[in-house]
Symmetry: C2
Subunit: 433 residues, 2 copies
């Protein structure tokens, strides 16, 4: 069966990868972007250039919207030249942009109020980065009516890895909420990568050796592994993953959390530091440039001098990573439970995508199920507190900021006011329950 | 009766004021400082210059140590030229520096181990700023043995206002702990002053009008009133109250809190932002320069334009101040209760000193006593959350960081996980219990 014809808007880093992959897979893709250069690049890669939103939408039974934000999506869909007025009857509209759940639900309502309830709306944010976008192996979190999902399914499957198309129950908004929960971990881990490696540099540790040891051990996060090369090469201009992107996602998290009256102290701390960096001119730089908030010169220049105790220093760095990752996992899991998310799906998604950490992957289920007498982390809440306190004190003595380390410690200590210090350290999740 | 002869070390902003006031009161004060210019200035004001630590200490039955930090005090007391070796038998040693309680307790131990237990040690940090130092109207928080306090009492009284000599029960360390608890509010309110006025400027509000309205209303803090003129004049070089001073005090708070396993999320947030400013070169600047973390140009240049809704904007600024001050009060009170501090004394001290805020002054006792059905704040916890959420969302929409506002909201929302949202807003203190 020949592949369908698709309209596509938003040919940025992710969108270009997705659209060109669809072209390679056999679709006829009519691509549009506000930047003509992006359209030209797409045409050069075999795509069909559209010269206007209207041209991208007319007669297209399938349409993918991959712009960067909800305001952009609103303009693309319902603005003066908005595509909704041009889409044919019963078209399938797939929004792959990362937007708040309440926004995509407002799109469904606006389609009704504009007498276009014939349009089949799929809420399907993605995760995985530009490489997986171009390879068609993204993780997709898709919500919508049965009819809409069924219509979009082949395209969704072609964009995603075999096991990474998550059909999220709950209709339009459920996909975006799942992505938002995933981004709780992503938003924290991105800043944590800079905080951990910046702290290591302050301690005089060689960056590459530190990253290799953390990657191969309990402190691993997908984000640290992914961002490290750009961090060490200072490959920031323009950013492969611009600060503004994760800042936008952090805003979706904290705004959604406020609507749900749910605390997200680490996401919020990360967001505030991203905002501070924004005002320092980091908007378009790669988010791995956040290492500058912790270390003033290139980390590549740090070579462990002979006179430092490398093992103790490394232990501090590892403990910082573990402490942040523990509380990050608790925050994301607490929020997921609060939103009554399908937990196995949430776990499967996060542990196989950019939000993954070894701490999350190994202990998330214990956090959900509650605590046995013996936890799987091998340490009590009091022991986790003691380890992180040592790190935070060392950084303080050295006048090094540790925004997330300190925020994580506050959460652990607040948890300690509620539960006995002898429970397994995963018990920190109870502060959110 | 003629006044005694006193040795004095540390003729900085506070020490100079205190020492010259003692001179005016009739004491013979032999002053020393590592900076010769400070000694000369003191001599010009009628003080007796000491050319060495030894000269400042020999034959002085009374000695005041007003250096800036515990490491400096350690050097002055027990270093190679340390004064303890030169003080006469049964001398009275008053440490007015702000140091951690555990440090001043270590001084008591070291006096014993050096066979100088004859020295009467008084732990007596001060509060009130340079003006009150020079006027002899400081607040003093004094701990020590009955004999030591009795010996030092006339000097302590001469340094302090009539009702502001607080004899803190608990011996050496109790004074420093009381000061530390006071500084919880000071450290938070100093950053809050910049956050509140910086946010007002971002909203387009005239700074002076905003400050006047906040000062005369529920949002008042001693720190905002005190720092505002320097903030608006950008009178920062060198600082009347250098960033490093409040940063040191914040470090005493968070280090003491870690030792007590007690969470201080707002103090910790403030400390991290002070540390970030330190690395941006603000060390010696006045702490009111923290407004630069929130607004990039002089706030004096902001004149409310005609097209903004001044009343709604002001309400947001006021709500920010109220939200921060509420959680700051809860954090300080929770910590004070945890340390089993003499609460009426703590309340009297804070409400009449630099840590005061209208929120603290009016609602602290309700926070201690627990909650009646009707609180005195006139609003429920859920209402306080809703107000602060609106502020935080507005700032987020404008890309303005609100470090304390967001941290305060996280604490309120974490409290909301423990107590019913219908309790009076002072119920936030229960998150610390």
């Amino acid at each position: 069966m020949p592949k369908q014809t698709i309209g596509f808007v938003g040919l940025g880093a992710m969108g270009y990868g997705m659209a060109t992959h669809l072209v390679k897979t056999g679709y006829k893709v009519h691509g549009y972007d506000v930047f003509p250069a992006s359209v030209e690049r797409f045409a050069a890669a075999g795509g069909i250039p559209a010269s206007s939103l209207r041209e991208s939408a007319e007669d297209k039974q399938f349409y993918i919207c991959m712009v960067a934000s909800a305001p952009q999506a609103q303009e693309v869909l319902f603005g003066e030249s908005g595509i909704v007025q041009y889409l044919p009857q019963n078209a399938t509209l797939i929004i792959t942009s990362t937007v708040p759940a309440y926004y995509v639900q407002s799109v469904a309502n606006e389609l009704v109020s504009r007498n276009r309830s014939d349009i089949l709306l799929v809420d399907s944010p993605v995760s995985g980065g530009t490489f997986r976008a171009a390879a068609g192996t993204l993780s997709l979190m898709s919500g919508g009516s049965e009819e809409a999902i069924s219509s979009a399914r082949e395209i969704l499957q072609d964009l995603s890895d075999e096991n990474k198309l998550y059909l999220v129950p709950g209709g339009v908004g459920a996909g975006s909420n799942m992505k938002m929960l995933h981004q709780v971990l992503a938003a924290i881990h991105i800043l944590a990568a800079s905080e951990v490696i910046g702290f290591a540099a302050r301690l005089g540790l060689n960056a590459r050796q530190t990253e290799e040891r953390i990657r191969s051990g309990k402190g691993w996060t997908w984000m640290l592994e992914n961002r490290f090369e750009r961090m060490v090469a200072e490959d920031w201009n323009p950013g492969a993953s611009a600060l503004t992107i994760i800042l936008k996602d952090a805003g979706i998290i904290t705004t959604s959390a406020r609507q749900a009256n749910f605390p997200t102290p680490l996401s919020s701390t990360a967001e505030q530091i991203y905002l501070a960096a924004l005002s320092q001119g980091y908007a378009s730089k790669d988010d791995s440039a956040m290492v500058r908030q912790y270390f003033p010169t290139p980390i590549a220049d740090v070579a462990s001098p002979a006179d430092i105790d490398t093992e103790s220093a490394f232990q501090l760095v590892l403990d910082l990573s573990l402490g942040i990752n523990l509380v990050a996992a608790a925050e994301a899991i607490g929020f997921a439970l609060h939103l009554q998310t399908d937990f196995p799906q949430f776990y499967d998604l996060v542990s196989n995508a950019a939000g993954g950490s070894r701490v999350f992957n190994e202990h998330a289920n214990e956090m959900r199920d509650g605590l046995g007498e013996k936890g799987t982390t091998g340490e009590t809440l009091d022991e986790a507190i003691a380890r992180l306190e040592k790190v935070v004190q060392k950084a303080r003595d050295m006048h090094v900021p540790l925004h997330l380390g300190n925020a994580a410690l506050s959460v652990l200590l607040l948890a300690r006011r509620r539960v006995d210090g002898g429970v397994p350290s995963t018990g920190v999740v109870r502060v959110f329950s």
